[in-house]
Point group: C2
Chain length 199, copies 2
């Protein structure tokens, strides 16, 4: 596919997704319009509808691409990083990178707007969280098993805590435009899972 369709990854559809992704992450699904994308790309609104007939389909494509990329990052962390604690740090780093771009996690943003989203987008948002929770629970269980990590309750609950804290830290830190607020919450939570505690 990469051969038969040269530059496919920078084709119009991808550039539309790039701009739409930035808009949703910074302004929300209800906070941008086809006109915003068209203006940014020098196209007309009608042209956008050729690639994505409805805004709901654009939204769906957005989540699918974002999730796929995010899951690739998770696999990359799993295969290149050794040690549960390092993996969790790398995981938090993914969120820090998003926040540095003055963006919210795409699915965190969509979670806030969930009740107003087209129904076809609902499952995709849930799936993103499910995948993250599964990955986190796996890392946490591994760390607990080899004594690297220490926490009460099932790994799934700790996973829920990590995901919640990172999403919430982005949410709260963004209005302040202050990455250190995110880091404080992220570091504190990861430290609380560490087997070695100073307290």
């Amino acid at each position: 596919m990469a051969v038969t369709q040269t530059q496919a990854s920078t084709g119009t559809a991808q550039r539309i997704l790039d701009v739409a992704e930035e808009l949703v992450q910074s302004r929300g699904y209800n906070g941008f319009s086809y006109a915003d994308i068209a203006g940014e790309l020098g196209l007309t609104k009608a042209s956008l509808h050729y690639h994505f007939p409805s805004k709901a389909e654009l939204g769906e494509a957005l989540i699918e691409r974002y999730s796929a990329r995010f899951l690739e990052s998770l696999e990359a962390i799993a295969s290149t990083t050794s040690g549960a604690d390092s993996k969790l740090e790398a995981y938090a780093g993914l969120y820090a990178d998003v926040l540095r771009g003055e963006r919210m996690c795409l699915c965190g943003m969509l979670a806030a707007e969930y009740q107003t989203l087209p129904e076809r987008m609902h499952d995709s948002v849930i799936r993103f969280f499910d995948h993250n929770l599964t990955w986190l629970a796996g890392v946490l269980a591994q760390g607990q098993a080899n004594g690297e990590l220490s926490f009460d309750g099932p790994p799934a609950d700790a996973a829920q805590t990590v995901l919640s804290t990172l999403q919430g830290a982005m949410l709260v830190a963004r209005p302040y435009r202050d990455l250190t607020r995110f880091q404080a919450a992220a570091d504190h939570t990861l430290a609380s899972l560490n087997g070695t505690r100073s307290s």
Copy 2:
């Protein structure tokens, strides 16, 4: 004032705020319109503009009232609950109550939409978080001083962690419509601040 203007607390302006508050917490500031409120109250859009000339002013009034009520709850907790751990539990309970109503924290929702909000609403959102963080840092410092709580770093960082986790737990749990997900994250984080640890 309560005497000279009987039923002021259930007057039209207050009923507008009630409906608007529910709409913002469940759908977001960009996810509702004057028509939604008018329909719910059996009024016309024009009548709403008599009480709140612009949507920005309505939004501002919304945050002010919500913040005032929330701060009252914080004072009530501070004066009726003894023990830092109990205060933190009561604090988390405030969020749980909001989530039970299938709502997001008003200011958590507005934080997501922050970049699209009228500028006059910005400071009010920040102030809400500041007040919460100050209150939390005070409780945490108290608990740390008397040995009831134990955590690394300054109380302000722990406060940032608690606020982030609770906001994020609401954000993530709401699409699942599952209060237990919120509770898992809330309980886990509060337990990590407890002086007595099983690990």
